[in-house]
């Protein structure tokens, strides 16, 4: 096998790490998880000259102390996997804070390349960085880039190649703190070395620094070693003496020295040419995070997003509809007119109608993800978390819970994965349990089917909005209930960096949009395809051979009667429908639907809706294809499920339609969400709890809505 060089990419959140990663590796990426933990591991590859480089994107962190799972992983990757090189992405306009992490890589003594990213931003703000001098001070190559315009990326590839080839010539300088800290570090390191307390792969001085920082992980690791008691006690004395001398806790002393070192470096390499001025981001924030206007502005923006989702998606939907219709007719034409071939029925009514009926709504979903990607990439999302923090606090959630909930409007699976940013289990679990109440993209097909069918055009956006608001309201109440019963306790403190507003590139938005949309498409190709076939079979078999009434005879009688032609036609149609209904009642789905129908009655649903709801269990959007199958079978002439919109109002009223949407919104999440919840909570109990809890909730709420609604009908 050809040799691959392992290197890692590291940096602060918001340093443009992902942009550089994408620019380096292009589409050659693989997303997985670090073993045992739920932190995403993204691996990509590229070539530098004749070298094959494998690049791992470390989670974005501010430090390498074990403050969070991300930080622990970042540092364990470096200690255990020994990458040949760490490429440290630095936001050039924010050098001081970013170098805090850099310094910790230097403490680890790994080969390093410093990438001054977004250098154009820094220059605009009048910050000039002497890259050569920085390189000499740190003993690391320095490359300037503008990630989103791919500037400096080729240079970076070249430098990576050079450093990997001539590793021995590129060792970082050792960080020397002033004696106040350096002496205790050396003393502690010597104690560790003398007592053979330096595990394989670790450096004594680095361990000493971590002990001074009171890093739980390292303290635990060392105290588990045999004979460590005495030595650690001696080190504790050193720490105690230091704290006594300086009159501050040792972890603060370490921080101060690090920032001191950085401040010294910055004085040497940074020159500021412009006077500090209030930048555009600040001006924008004074409006967008305004204490009064912030929330209304956000709600207005969301309304706009959902309004556009429908209007922009419409023409594209039309094209896909026609395509699906054409494909159905085309496949049908392989068989002679009126053929009853089961294969034809499977292909046309099962596969094409099932998957096609769902694909039709792809433009809506793609546009929604597109809009969310814009909000994320401009930096607005971080502001939203901030302005919503108080509200979220009131319902017992964290400001950061808001981001998963917003992603939940696209798809619950990435949303549940996004709860990883919450550090406390009670915050995380509560968020995870209510995320499916955020109306996800898979429910859009249901709304997009029902709303135009039952409500006038000018109300469409408002009805849609009311569904979303219902979901949010129920989520709020549920979260509050959970936090005051099962997950009691204080909130985690809220702190989040507000990156400067950026104009996102089309490329990065598209990558973002695609990574989420592809989840939906993948589902359509696998889960939905399989489920469509199964559902088709369930709603076609067993076949009824002998009917209770002589339908053919009745039809013939009408045909021969002297009624007007129009009346004849409608009577024949009615009998035809009755026949199909009888046939359908005989099939598996029909039987299940009939069995559960009495239970569904309080919500205003009939057995057909019940049948479709069973079908919607693996994935919400299956409700549409299942209705399509149920009603296509219920028609004399073979109609395309796209015509379902015209058919539904003949069977249901607006209230029932609304209740269907409410039930689909609130009830058990799809299989994929169930699996995600089980994985992320690491518990079958909570996954089942979510599934049954939400279904019960949906039943109660929908029944209330229906029963209350019929009073006014």
């Amino acid at each position: 096998m050809e040799k691959r060089n392992q290197i890692v990419l590291a940096g602060n959140p918001n340093s443009g790490k992902t942009t550089v990663f994408n620019a380096l590796t292009g589409a050659r990426q693989h997303v997985g998880n670090y073993p045992g933990v739920t932190v995403e591991k993204i691996v990509g590859s590229f070539k530098s000259g004749d070298l094959n480089i494998t690049l791992t994107d470390l989670p974005g962190t501010y430090s390498l102390t074990a403050n969070s799972p991300e930080e622990l992983i970042a540092r364990n990757v470096i200690i255990n996997e020994k990458p040949e090189l760490v490429v440290n992405i630095i936001d050039a306009s924010n050098l001081e804070r970013n170098l805090f992490l850099t310094l910790q890589f230097m403490e680890l003594g790994v080969p390093l390349i410093l990438v001054l990213n977004m250098i154009d931003n820094a220059r605009d703000r009048g910050i000039e960085i002497d890259a050569e001098r920085l390189a000499r001070l740190f003993g690391a190559r320095v490359v300037c880039t503008v990630g989103n315009r791919s500037e400096g990326i080729n240079e970076l590839k070249k430098v990576i190649g050079e450093v990997v080839r001539e590793k021995e010539r590129h060792s970082v300088n050792k960080v020397n703190y002033s004696d106040e800290l350096e002496i205790p570090i050396r003393k502690a390191a010597k104690i560790l070395t003398d007592n053979k307390l330096v595990p394989e792969g670790y450096d004594a001085e680095w361990l000493a620094i971590k002990l001074l920082e009171k890093d739980n992980e390292i303290t635990g690791l060392l105290s588990a070693l045999p004979g460590s008691g005495e030595a650690l006690k001696a080190i504790d004395d050193i720490i105690g003496k230091l704290e006594n001398d300086v009159n501050e806790p040792s972890e603060i002393i370490v921080t101060e020295h690090r920032y001191g070192f950085i401040a010294g470096t910055c004085r040497e390499v940074v020159s500021s040419t412009l006077q500090k001025r209030r930048d555009i981001s600040e001006a924008a924030d004074s409006v967008l995070t305004h204490r009064v206007f912030g929330i209304p502005l956000f709600l207005g923006l969301m309304y706009l997003v959902f309004y556009l989702t429908f209007t922009v998606g419409d023409p594209f939907m039309g094209w896909i509809e026609q395509g699906v219709e054409w494909l159905g007719v085309f496949v049908s034409s392989w068989w002679p007119e009126g053929s009853a071939s089961p294969l034809r029925s499977l292909l046309v009514e099962g596969v094409i109608a099932g998957v096609g009926g769902v694909l039709v709504f792809l433009p809506n979903i793609a546009f929604l993800f597109f809009a969310i990607a814009i909000l994320e990439d401009t930096g607005y999302m971080a502001r939203v978390a901030f302005i919503m923090d108080r509200l979220m606090n009131k319902i017992g959630l964290h400001g950061k819970s808001f981001i998963p909930m917003l992603i939940g409007f696209g798809c619950s699976v990435p949303a549940i994965m996004a709860t990883r940013t919450l550090n406390l289990r009670r915050d995380r679990m509560t968020t995870m349990l209510v995320v499916p109440l955020m109306s996800c993209g898979a429910r859009i097909p249901i709304y997009a089917l029902i709303i135009p069918a039952f409500f006038p055009k000018k109300w469409e956006a408002a009805i849609m909005f009311s569904i979303y608001i219902t979901g949010i309201a129920v989520a709020v109440l549920t979260a509050k209930l959970l936090r005051s019963t099962l997950f009691r306790g204080e909130n985690e403190p809220f702190v989040l960096e507000l990156p400067p507003y950026r104009i996102p590139t089309l490329k990065s938005i598209c990558i973002h949009m695609w990574s989420r949309t592809s989840v939906y498409l993948h589902k359509a190709g696998t889960l939905l395809l399989g489920a469509s076939v199964v559902l088709w079979a369930l709603s076609n078999y067993p076949k009824k051979e002998t009917f209770e009434r002589d339908y053919a005879g009745e039809m013939a009688k009408i045909e021969q009667s002297r009624l007007p032609a129009a009346e004849k036609k409608s009577l024949i149609r009615k009998i035809g429908n009755e026949k199909t209904a009888e046939a359908l009642s005989y099939t598996c789905t029909g039987r299940i639907g009939h069995v559960i129908a009495p239970a569904l009655k309080p919500m205003g649903f009939d057995w057909r809706v019940g049948t479709a709801l069973i079908g919607a269990f693996p994935a919400k959007e299956l409700f549409v294809s299942q209705m399509g199958i149920v009603f296509a079978l219920g028609e004399l002439d073979e109609e395309n499920p796209v015509a379902l919109r015209a058919e539904l109002p003949k069977h249901y009223n607006g209230l029932q339609a609304y209740c269907i949407m409410i039930f689909c919104l609130l009830s058990a999440p799809c299989i994929a969400t169930f699996a995600a919840a089980r994985r992320e909570s690491n518990s079958w109990f909570w996954a089942f709890f979510q599934m049954f809890g939400l279904t019960a909730l949906a039943y109660i709420v929908t029944t209330l809505v229906y029963q209350f609604g019929i009073l006014f009908m």
Partner: protein
């Protein structure tokens, strides 16, 4: 030690005036909390500025050239003084 240099009253971050230059005195909370905010640039002796108070005891502050949004609970734990 940092405290003595500035002759103004000790304030919690959430009661500090917006726009004034502030110096961090200390932060109450475990060493994990201290390390966490230190990594963001908030540690004794560091200067910062409250950009604006949010709708709810939370605020936006500027430290080390970046801006942070912070919730009420956290602000209460961080003690500062106005630099005169």
């Amino acid at each position: 030690m940092t405290a003595r240099k500035y002759n103004s009253p000790v304030l919690s971050l959430n009661s500090a005036p917006a726009g004034a230059e502030l110096v961090v005195l200390n932060a109450f909370g475990g060493c994990e909390f201290q390390r966490k905010i230190a990594a963001l640039g908030i540690y004794p002796g560091e200067k910062l500025e409250v950009v604006e108070h949010g709708n709810c005891g939370g605020l936006i502050l500027k430290v080390k050239g970046s801006r942070l949004a912070m919730g009420q609970g956290m602000c209460e734990k961080i003690k500062v003084k106005v630099v005169q």
